[in-house]
Symmetry: C2
Subunit: 283 residues, 2 copies
């Protein structure tokens, strides 16, 4: 199977995909999140994996917007414990470091630790593993990168410091996107469903929208709002709730929800994700 | 009065502040959003202005986080119609342009227009007006900036194209933050209140939270969720609702809300903001 992810080899998305699908698949690196969606849409990959939310920095809103634009379904999720490593070329010492490269979220998540290098400039790049590749390819001897240990292995680089994230409760939730919705599940597995909708212009509309779940004792897991383009300060709501869309209470709730929405789409039902640690390996 | 805003002179925040407070105040430029909050906290400015939400790109989540960290109150809001201009050094022609500098949101909001320059690289910088200052200071003759017309005036630069934003429904909502909450209002003016809270771990907790407003016919204007640091996948909710926190129904709703929240803070009550266009001027 081919699984598309955004970023370079050794990125957290690839580590999460290896845990979700097992390591013997083909993981296809594409440049941007939107390329993950188009790779799956056009059949160049069977599935894609995208980060949707981090426990410290919040939702990755761009991917909420992409979920709406594409015609893919969410078919799975996995939670990855994120550990950052300070990585440099061999021979580079901490006092040599004048620049630190990483994804803006990587830099933000290690902000306190990086105060050890008060003179170093933080330079944002598109992807954590790309930061490692960049300092290796350009043989930068005054620079370090913040990335996964896997990126250090893949690019044969030196680790100056490990687990440098300021807050250890650093978990990223990834979603699996596929062309076809998932409809069959092992009966024992708790399910989740994600939907997106916009509400009719009624008083208490959001309250009414949530009531269709509360009235049926269906727990909400997450709510996220995004702007409707061209309609200032109207919102799309993304909701995750417990259960599958084909289960009786959930199907009734969705029918009820249709009465008060202008637009409603089920993004997918899927098994509730496991929390995993990255597994690093020589390859 | 001194009003702090983040970014260079001619930024949209400064244009919004001039409309809110009138042009005869002292507008103090600080580097980052967090510096706006600290300038007000430490008394170096009487008020601060921060963008909180754009009608196309959504919330500025960093400022939601800053609102929680600081002890300031929201005392006002204003909605600014955002128009982008393509700005370059005098003598630079469209076919010279190999790089376009702007804030990432400025670049994103003009994405289609910038396809006219397929060979030009989009370079993100911290602030739209800073992009203009940069290409002027460095005398870049292969570059343009996307920014306000005011930035073109302030830095005496040439306008190559105007109103280049892809979607004209481009409005940014700014909040005014101050040391003391606002408690007296002209009686005719409709008010809004912003609160932030985290919920007890109860089934249907969010539904119950919203019900305290619905039961009293208080309209919700906006809901936003942000992660609680150190508690993966627990959320803080930011809610804007109609009315002032001292009005009877609203005060009752807030008392009711306390019963089901672990944490509740009123960020402020303020007059509902006007929608304005920027007023440009030679200075």
């Amino acid at each position: 199977m081919k699984i598309a992810f955004a970023g370079e080899r050794g990125s957290f998305a690839e580590l999460a995909a290896a845990q979700y699908f097992g390591p013997r698949q083909t993981f296809v690196s594409v440049p941007e999140f939107e390329d993950v969606f188009s790779a799956v849409s056009r059949g160049r990959a069977n599935h894609g994996i995208i980060p949707i939310e981090n426990s410290l920095t919040g939702s990755i809103h761009q991917n909420y917007d992409e979920l709406l634009k594409c015609n893919l379904s969410i078919t799975g999720e996995i939670f990855l414990r994120v550990s950052h490593f300070l990585i440099a070329n061999h021979g580079v010492k901490p006092h040599n470091i004048k620049r630190v490269f990483s994804h803006p979220q990587g830099l933000a998540q290690c902000k306190n630790h990086l105060k050890k290098f008060p003179d170093a400039e933080c330079v944002p790049v598109s992807n954590t593993a790309y930061a490692v590749k960049k300092i290796r390819d350009e043989r930068l001897l005054d620079a370090a990168a913040v990335a996964s240990f896997q990126a250090a292995i893949d690019y044969d680089m030196n680790v100056l410091d490990k687990n440098i994230e300021d807050n250890k409760a650093n978990i990223t939730r990834f979603l699996i996107v596929s062309k076809k919705p998932k409809t069959t599940f092992a009966s024992s597995q708790p399910l989740k469903t994600s939907v997106v909708f916009s509400l009719k212009n009624l008083p208490g509309a959001l309250f009414r929208g949530l009531s269709v779940f509360a009235l049926r004792d269906i727990d909400l897991v997450k709510i996220e709002s995004r702007p409707v383009h061209g309609k200032p300060f109207e919102y799309l709501f993304y909701l995750d709730f417990e259960g599958g869309s084909n289960q009786e209470r959930q199907a009734n709730a969705l029918n009820h929800l249709k009465e008060i929405t202008v637009f409603l789409r089920v993004l997918g039902s899927y098994e509730r994700g496991r929390l995993v640690k990255p597994e690093y390996k020589k390859r």
